[in-house]
Amino acid sequence: MEGSVVVIGGGIAGIQTSLDLTELGFKVYLVERNPSIGGRMAQLDKTFPTNDCSLCILAPKMVEVFRNPNIELMTYHEVKKVEGKPGDFTVTVLKKPRYIDETKCKGCGDCAAKCPKIEVPNVFDMNLGKRKSIYIPFPQAVPPIYVIDPEICLKLTKGVCGVCEKVCQAEAIDYEQKPQEIKLTVGAIVAATGFDMPAEELTSRWGYQYENVVSALEYERILCASGPFDGRVLRPSDQEEPEKIAFIQCAGSRDLHENIPYCSSVCCMYTAKEAIITKEHSENSNCYVFRHDIRAYGKNFYEFTQRAQKDYGVQYFQTKVSTVVEDHETKDLMIHYEDLKTGKFNDFHANLVVLATPLVPSKGTEELAQVLGVEVDKYHFFKEKSFFNKCLSSKDGMFLCGFCQGPKDIPETVADASGVASQVANLLNSVKYTEIKEKVFEVPEMEVKITDEPRIGVLVCHCGINIGKYVDVSGVVEYVEKLPYVVHCEANLYSCSPDSQARIKEVIQEKNLNRFIVASCTPRTHEALFQETCQEAGLNKYLFEMVNIRDQCSWVHMGDNEGATAKAKDLIRMAVAKARLLKPLTEASLDITPTALIIGGGVTGMTAALNIANQGFKAYKVEKEDKLGGNLNNLNVLYPIQEDAAILLNVIQDKVKKHKNIEIFLKSQIKDVKGFIGNYNVSIAMNKKSQGLKIGTIIVATGAQELKPNGDFQYNKKNKNIITQLELEQKLKEKDKSWLDNIKRVTTILCVDARQKEGITYCSNVCCGVSIKNVSILKELRPDLEIVVLYRDIQMAKKEFEEYYRERRKDAIFLRYDLDQIPTISKKGGKSEKYDIKVFDTNLQDEIEFETDLIILSTPMIPADNLDELAKMLKVPLDKNGFFLEAHVKLRPLDFATDGIFLAGCAQWPKNIQDSISQANGAAGRASRFLSAKTIKTSGLIAEVNPERCIGCGKCESVCPYNAIEIKEASMEFEDVSLVLKKSFINSALCKGCGTCAATCPNGAISVKHYDFDQIFAMIETYLLD
């Protein structure tokens, strides 16, 4: 068995999987066929529903991958062959020639600047911008290494030019590079190959052939501040600001003519987002969305689409678009469509059209499937082994993550990624940590006392000509040499090269330096490298300081050498002033109790417990009811696989009950939680007894429940045949079906008490599916039954759901109603349960009245009861709807902001069983990272309280986002008395070092290490006064 994993695809799916895998103790080879990781997410401008800047949240993860010693980043590589079996695969990877020596390229860009102007469309900008033949895909690319396009490079095609070789001072250009084959032996393989948006494959009726019709991904680049138009909304034909922008949803998805039967799942949301951002960018623009259904599949998504309309004035039309035609003169577009609300055909004139075109498996998926020997489904996505575990491929030891398995958004992908990592850990449990390298420093750390006189060394980088051309480096060196406490200063060509690292170590030791400064590029990418070099020389890494004289100096003052040089001098002087005051910091290590507590005994909680237990850790399960299973106990059949819920329940339950590492507490409740990550003391109450547990991490899987309508739609005791969907499930579960005997017509009403203007405003995502399933179950039981479904939109956003729905459409009559005219029910006279329903069908634009014998109300899921109490005990937040609130909706869907506590399943948001299981595995993965590590290291960059100055006011406690601060009583010794006073305490295990507490403290009692008051004051002073 091998303790390493190949992850194929470097988008957010692959990135997250890789990061989690290393934390679980596995070495990762991250193979990406493009020159940079980042994938589709790097191309997005913002992300819904928070409109976070996409690259802002992704780039730190990309850098983390780059720096991780246990991830071997293989960009511009492709997987060619796979042999072997789970635990022992041999993977042959092809390294494509970049024609650049990766070990030498510094990413400075001198080559591209001089490369003759033969330009081709920039793929990263969806071909809207241009790039040279030597290029970096985008400025934040990881690795920051250039690549030559062999198709257009003059040297490679015609043997002339060679300019890049001449200008590259790092001598990194290598026209002789050849493709190379590399063999890897690994224990598991993860496919995370994502999607494409090939708008050019659409039929011409969508008008993509016209200049001013763009795909949504192209539009993302248009919106992006670093995109081809610098974030100005311009249309491609004339670079004018369009006044009327039309967004067409379902442009090819859910469309049998286009051969894309499924719903792409994310388009409703990104369309709303793009429209909102358009309005933010250019106030004068008007946005129109041509929609079919609204399928906002995710937490608070539906409200986001409503906000687009209400707060931003985006106009939505419920339509079917038939054609888009260009006006040849103005290059404007005419959209011909059917208004589904009036049934009339109309024309709409727009200046720019954005198409939400289908998202399909990325090019090459099928070839890769053959290489891996795994199956694809009928839509050409990788096929999952079972509906209940979408992360397992058809072949053991090979896993699927993200969009390559089926349409899903970023949080789902991230949850999948953590789930995949944990399942790999289950498979390769016996070889955990066998291939991980822990960095050990041979030179012991030298002791640096605060009283020692500072001996500062400074290295000033030329960065080829990137700094040297604009900053007088030798002048700077001369200047810096004379600054107080500077013992040594020298310049070099490239500070980041391996020989420079050797040189840094040499000077530190030779000159006995106790502080070191590098003035070069940005600490965001290079600080860690230099810190490590310092550590290798025995210098505490917090005694290092970096100065940015390239990205924030020479590159932005290219026409002003004098100004740039003066600025570089100032910046280094400021750093020297700070460096004097730097203190060596320690990273405390904290033991983790190797146990997990899982709150909730439903399918989510059981899956999470099993996952953790299989990794060899003790899992405690607490369930308030007298049996495991949660909502699954009430369900009859599971869609879309039409399997008995009891089968799944029994299988999982059996495993849980038999597992030696799982201890179950039924009829139990959490009474108290004390402590923090790794060291919780939890007390559990079970029928009058109580028990204390020592817990390392906690997973919240408390589920959700069905809303019982509060008298609405005549739901009351008197009307026996007006029931909820869950009540129907229970009836269907019974053997005796005589209750169906006298029923001729059944009516299902969707969105009862959901998607309202007030109260429950959200779409609970799962009710449509359940209702449609039950339509077919009823029909199977009684083929003569007449079924009517009253709906607003049909929410069937998963890969196979659209077809599931399409197949069942014939089983019932579907009438569409509007929130402004909800159906009314009145009971008929007489003893029998018969009702009259009146509904205004918006498709027919007519009121319809009919009689029915059974009414099924489909209501949303709401949070479980009494979550408030639990939330308080755990010190984690609830959202406005009462579900638990995750740390970050996009990239940390399963974490709480407080380290050590995780969430999964319906506790976070209503979801189906597939997603609940995926999240359960994901949360187990997130939690077991800590359990596997056994200890955690706290950062040195944390805040610290000076108890003498602290007045115990508690302001710091109230602003800390991580619950790291607690006001406690402490006895303080004064000259002759000892008093018990309130003081603030910062838990170093939880503190993230943001420093907000320090800036809030009215008494200056909190210092932030490495960014302390005296250090920043010294920088200010030296800048302005020296």
């Binding site: 802002c56 070092g993 907000t996 960014y1011 200010i1020 002073e1021 800048y1023 302005l1024 006064l1025």
Partner: protein
Amino acid sequence: MSKAKKKAKQKEEWTPELLVFCCNWCSYAGADLAGVSRFQYPPNMRIIRVMCSGRVDPTFVLKALKDGADGVLITGCHIGDCHYISGNEYTRDRFKKLHEIIIKQLGIDGKRVRLEWVSASEGKRFADLITEFTNQIKELGPLKVF
């Protein structure tokens, strides 16, 4: 700035001295992107990096003004994007109070101290912001309060 130095400078063409605080995650990255994209701006500002805009203690700003800065710019992630969840919200609230003190109690033109959000992809905006801020301070002239 020492008086002598300031005087000497006044004789030549006066250029303001500006201090900019950037948070490590978004605005510092935005400033880097300005560089990577080679967007040019005037060189008379110095950046101090802190982990979060929430770290920027009002005393930092007051000290800078006292020591002779002609303008101070605090930058951070856009609201909602803060790497520390809500740090910038506190920055915003604190800044409101600080701004009032600066204008009302110290009688300094409010335009000299600003709070702006810059994302990691807003390189252009960062450059434009610095240019605009510099011009604004140039118009206001040297700060002569202390």
